[in-house]
């Protein structure tokens, strides 16, 4: 039984599947959960023209015990499809992670922002979302004096706020201006996205969703109501949609000259 091919997956009830030998109740329960999850993925994947996700190991468990150290989670952003004035990804991120504009642009947190770039010679203009680029060699982690900035084994760059002392050295070091500092006391944060005064934060690539086998909120909303410009997946898995696209299209990273090898790739930029 394999549900790896999402487009053609025909999910039949577990009882009618060929079972080799005696399946223990545990295995059967796992199989059921897997089939259910597979069904959910098929629904999402079959929306017109859009394939939302590509999962390396085909993991679809609800609560995982540990991350996949072989993965390198990344994003591919098609700038040609990123709509002018569209900010679905930004609002989805705000809703998911509980940050918002409070009317203080100097100090408000920004996990993701829409940036307009213009070629001064040709006058060509493009819009693109910029968030933490989840570098393979993150400068923020290099400079962090307490080890709070770190890269998970699966490539997601995070701040361990238990260790962060709020020195903001990482904010200086980040070439993408991706990090924010929280200046004010907060209450009623999202249970899965703790945020607190005196610590630095940035895009987590929706790590709580990734750990559940889901895709980041920005990618989901971009594909449902935005321009369908964003793709999430495992760059290390040659069979994944994102790795194939990165291999066949000419994509670029922002400031590749810095040699930090971001996990976020852009095409048509």
């Amino acid at each position: 039984m394999s549900c790896t091919d999402k487009e053609t997956c025909t999910c039949t009830p577990a009882g009618s599947l060929p079972v080799d030998g005696e399946a223990s109740p545990g295995i059967e329960a796992g199989r059921r959960a897997f089939i259910k999850a597979g069904g959910a993925f098929a629904t999402i994947a079959l929306t017109p023209t859009v394939t939302l996700m590509s999962f390396g190991g085909g993991k679809a468990n609800a609560a995982q015990e540990s991350l996949d150290p072989k993965a390198r989670w990344g994003l591919l952003i098609d700038v040609a499809k990123c709509g002018t004035g569209c900010s679905e990804c930004v609002s989805a991120c705000q809703k998911e992670n509980g940050w918002q504009d409070t009317g203080h642009p100097e100090t408000d947190a920004q996990w993701i922002r829409k940036v307009t770039v213009k070629n001064p010679k040709s006058g060509a203009v493009a819009e693109l979302p910029v968030m933490c680029q989840h570098c393979d060699e993150p400068p923020c982690a290099d400079v962090c004096p307490t080890g709070a900035s770190f890269k998970r084994a699966d490539g997601i760059v995070l701040v361990d706020k238990h260790l962060c002392i709020g020195c903001r050295y990482c904010m200086m070091a980040c070439p993408y201006k991706a990090r924010s500092f929280i200046h004010e006391t907060l209450i009623d944060q999202k249970p899965y996205a703790p945020r607190g005064k005196g610590t630095v934060e940035s895009c987590t690539m929706c790590v709580h969703r990734v750990d559940r086998g889901e895709i980041p909120a920005c990618v989901e909303s971009c594909n449902l109501t935005g321009g369908g410009a964003m793709m999430f997946g495992n760059l290390n898995d040659p069979q994944s949609e994102i790795a194939k696209r990165v291999a066949e299209l000419t994509s670029t990273q922002l400031r590749p000259d810095l040699g930090v090898d971001p996990g976020v790739h852009y095409t048509y930029l």
Binding site: E65, D160, K161
Partner: protein, 165 residues
């Protein structure tokens, strides 16, 4: 020098306290002595009941002594290794031990009836978890704690071994 002064002060304080307890009446100290006896008799906190039908990962005596180490161990597993199992997670504690306020909503840690505060106020131990973490479950969140923990004994002993390391 400082240490010496501290020692002298501590000894003096101890002597006064002992004197007060023994009922020695110092001039003008009778009322103060009574007051200090009252302070010593602060009643044990009324600990709010957890959500009905739920079962904690360990018995209350164990949790009272060890919850901080368990939470600390679990936090590192979660942040660094992506462990999202519900057992031992702070969110689960919060979901089970939510306390309703007068308005019918769950109270935050700003309210002295909050589960964590009821004990921590008594023990005079400051917690800083809630500077970042939400101190009450999200409104309308039914995903958490829908069923009692089916605690696997083996997993539990493995976890506790990790706590002790």
């Amino acid at each position: 020098m400082k240490q010496r002064i501290r020692q002298v002060l501590a000894t003096a304080l101890l002597a006064v306290a002992l004197g007060a307890m023994a009922g020695i009446s110092w001039p003008g100290m009778a009322s103060a002595g009574e007051a200090s006896i009252q302070v010593a008799a602060v009643p044990a906190p009324a600990i709010p009941e957890a959500k009905p039908g739920t079962e904690c990962v360990r018995d209350p005596e164990f949790m009272r002594r060890n919850h901080m180490d368990m939470l600390k161990h679990k936090r590192d597993l979660t942040v660094h290794e992506g462990n999202r199992l519900p057992e031992f997670s702070l969110n689960e504690c919060i979901a089970c031990h939510a306390v309703k306020g007068d308005d019918g909503k769950n109270v935050t840690v700003a309210d002295s009836r909050h589960f964590c505060r009821s004990c921590h106020d008594y023990a005079a131990v400051k917690v800083d978890c809630f500077q970042c973490h939400a101190s009450r479950p999200e409104a309308g969140d039914t995903a958490l704690q829908s069923s009692p923990h089916g605690m696997n004994v083996l997993a539990l002993s493995e976890f506790l071994k990790g706590v002790q390391e």
